[in-house]
Each structure stands twice: as C-alpha cells, then as structure tokens.
Symmetry: C2
DNA sequence: TTCCATCAAAATCTCGAAATTTAGGCGAAT
DNA sequence: ATTCGCCTAAATTTCGAGATTTTGATGGAA
C-alpha cells in the first residue's frame, strides 16, 4: 500500500466517522504536519476525496467538509435504496450458497452486536463496531451482484451518506426496530423473494426519509 | 475556472472521446510538457480521474486507460438504465413546463442532427456533435429530478460508459432505430407516463446489452 | 457605532529538482 | 537459442521553496 493511499484511506475514514465538523475547513497545512508529508501529497488526496463528494473544493479557498443537509440525506438515501435493492435482487439470482453463508454470517455479527447494545448502559464503545457491522451487512447484501460498477457506485454513495448522517445521539433509539428490519431483510433474501427483499430494504432505509416528518410537529 | 480544473476537464473529455487507446499508459511526464505545467498538477488531475474510474492508478507504475470490457459496458449500461429511468420518472413528477420545454429543445437538436446524419455521405464531422447532443438529451431527461446526488452519480457512470464505448464504426448503423427510440422516450415523457418512459429508456439502452448476442453467431 | 481601507499573517498554488523505482537493452553464461 | 543479471534511460513520487491569494486584525473616517 502506497503512502498516498494510506493517507487517502485514513482521511476518508475520518471524514466518514466523526473526525470533522460539517462545514469545517480542512487545513491542508495542518494535515501536512500531522501526517508528516508535503503539501502536494495532502492536496492530491483531498482532490481525490473531492471527486466523490467527501470534501468540497473551492478555488484558492482550499477544501471544506460539506454542510449537513437534510435534502442531501434524502437524495443519498434514495440512491441507496435504488442501488441496494437492485444489487440484492441480483445477488439473490446469482449468489448461491457461498453468498447466503456470507450474508448469514454478517447478519449474525450485526445481530449479536445489536443484542448487546440493547442491554448496554453505555452505548458509546459500541458505536464504531456497530457502524462497521451495519456497513458489512449492507455491502454483503449486494456482494454477489456481479457488477463491480454497481458496488463501486454504492460505496461512494454510502460513504457520503455516512458522512452526512455522522453520529446521531438518537442512533440507537430505534435499535429494536432495526433488529426486526435486518431480520426481515435477511429472511426475505434467504427465501429468494426478490420483490419482498426490495420492499424490506426500502422500509429499512425509509426512516431516514421520515426524519423531517418526525420533527415537523415538534 | 482554475488551471487544475481546465486540465481536469480537458483530460476528461479526451478520455471520454477518442484521445487515448484502451489499456494505453498515460504518461504524466508527456502531459506535463503538453500542458506546460508541473508533474504535481498533472498527478492531481489524474488522481481525480482515477477516483471516478476514467483512469486506473497502479502504485509506482503510473496511470493507464482501463481496458475495454464487454462486461463493464454491461454493468454501466445497467446502472444507466437504473439511474436514468428513476431520474426521468422524478422529472416527470417534479419538472413542469420549463422541463418539458428543455426536453423538447434537446430532442429537437438531436433529431435535427440525426436527420442530417441519415443523408450524409461522410458521417465523421457529425460524430462529436451527435455525441454531445445525445448526452444533452439524456442529461435533460433527468435534469428536473431534484437530486444533485443522482445527477452527479449518473454523470460519473455516463463518463465511464462513453469511455468504454468510444467511437464504434457501427455507431450510426442503427440511426433510424435511434431516432424512433428517442422519439418514443420523448412522447412517453411528455405524456407523463412514468411506467412507459422507464420501459422506453430500458429498450433504448438495451441494445448495448444485446451486442454480445449479435456477435455470437458471427 | 458602523463601514472601509490597509497591512500582516497564514494558507493556497505552482514549480523544478532530488530521490526512488521501473523498463528495456545488452552481453555473458548455461 | 534461451535465460539471467547488470546497467542505463525514463518514469514515478516526494519534497520544500517561492509566488500568489485569502484571511483576519487594526485603525481611521463617516
């Protein structure tokens, strides 16, 4: 793994989790010192990240983290539904036992984590683990779709989605509903029911579309 | 427009049309001389292009244009159908008169060009114009979808698709069928029939999925 | 107080060169 | 004739400096 790529991955991960505030400026100069490399190297990496939308570039004004936007979360959720539903349907057709095994394994990990979350006093130490497990489950869903282009596209959308969502305090408020929905997706997929699986994926992601409605009355 | 961005757009355009051969190495050193800038600047641009898949980066071995792959064309076509059908359906719901006007205009331009193509002796001078007009028509279809994220994603997929397809000798073999299909898409969209529009978009792009079957018997 | 010009500090942007790595040719040994 | 290792040329990667631009603060005028 090259130097460039290391920094690229490190920054991408930080941008997807909680390393930066929305709208905050990304100071290439500071990162240069932190990573101990030249400004050009940082600049390269930031340009790469700007191409997929994880940072915004403005001429002569450097890079900054995109503002959080309810509208953008909607758009990215919509794309996720589109890509994940299609990718999962393709996986059901092409997948086979190996895929079913991977999916069951991913769900088991996630499920196990969510169970522990329900009874935990302090959810903080689980946050990173849960996000990883959730990502793993959703990526496994589409992993047998046979289209690298679809997986790549989904990955980009997913990164931006995760960045927009960041860590919400209410992340685990609906954990029991999450457990139920993940189980339903798994069941439908294992039963080979494409239509039902699409439907359940839509339902699962739709909560991000509902957020506005929830808040309106408050 | 910044220097960086100029070079980015120039190279992207060249990669999408016929500036490079598939699999050919992209020599940063040569481009540096051609564009009269430093190696770092070229490198930045190439990294950006690699993030969306227009060039491939291999550590210590520079950048190269992706190989042409029938499978990849299939995958990108599939994504185009997914994104364009959805985006157009949204445009039908949200778009209004302004969008209908834009779409009619784009189709008129394309249609006019295709008519001239049919009767032209030498199609070569029309190629670039036609590709631009076709892109314009398809981008206009989704232009009122209300989702920047969908438009951005479609743009990336479209760039890669165009690069994979490049200029085929047979580009205009089916020009009369193209005219008919574009007209059908326009009619369905103007009639506000989402389902029919989706269907016609699928039919129109499906010819890229059929290419294998066509060639198999030969 | 508010607005605007000026100036200094900090950040961005581009470049050319040095260090590192790959690519390809040449000749010797099997 | 083929293979292997060496050597040179060419390409890459990284860096730090200098030029340019933005940012933020200070001070004077309305």
């Amino acid at each position: 793994m090259s130097y460039d790529t290391d920094i690229y991955n490190a920054l991408r991960h930080r941008l997807m989790t909680n390393g930066f505030e929305h709208g905050q400026k990304v100071r290439a100069e500071h990162l240069r010192i932190e990573f101990g490399c030249s400004a050009s190297t940082i600049r390269e990496v930031l340009f790469r990240l700007s191409t997929i939308g994880l940072v915004e570039f403005r001429e002569q004004r450097g890079f900054r983290v995109p503002e959080q936007s309810r509208a953008l979360i909607h758009e990215l959720t919509h794309l996720r539904v589109l890509l994940e539903a299609e990718g999962t349907a393709m996986s059901i057709r092409r997948g086979g036992v190996a895929w079913e095994a991977r999916l069951t394994a991913a769900h088991h990990q996630l499920s196990h984590l969510e169970m522990r979350l329900q009874s935990a006093q302090d959810t903080a130490p689980f946050i990173d683990l849960w996000f990883d497990a959730e990502r793993q489950f959703h990526e496994t869903l589409i992993s047998a779709c046979g289209s690298d282009a679809l997986r790549d596209t989904h990955h980009q959308v997913y990164c931006r989605f995760r960045q927009q969502l960041m860590i919400e305090d209410r992340a685990f408020d609906f954990i029991s509903e999450n457990i139920r929905q993940h189980q339903q997706i798994l069941d439908a997929a294992m039963a080979g029911d494409e239509a039902l699986t699409r439907h359940k994926i839509h339902d699962h992601l739709a909560r991000h579309l509902m957020a506005d409605v929830e808040r309106e009355p408050a």
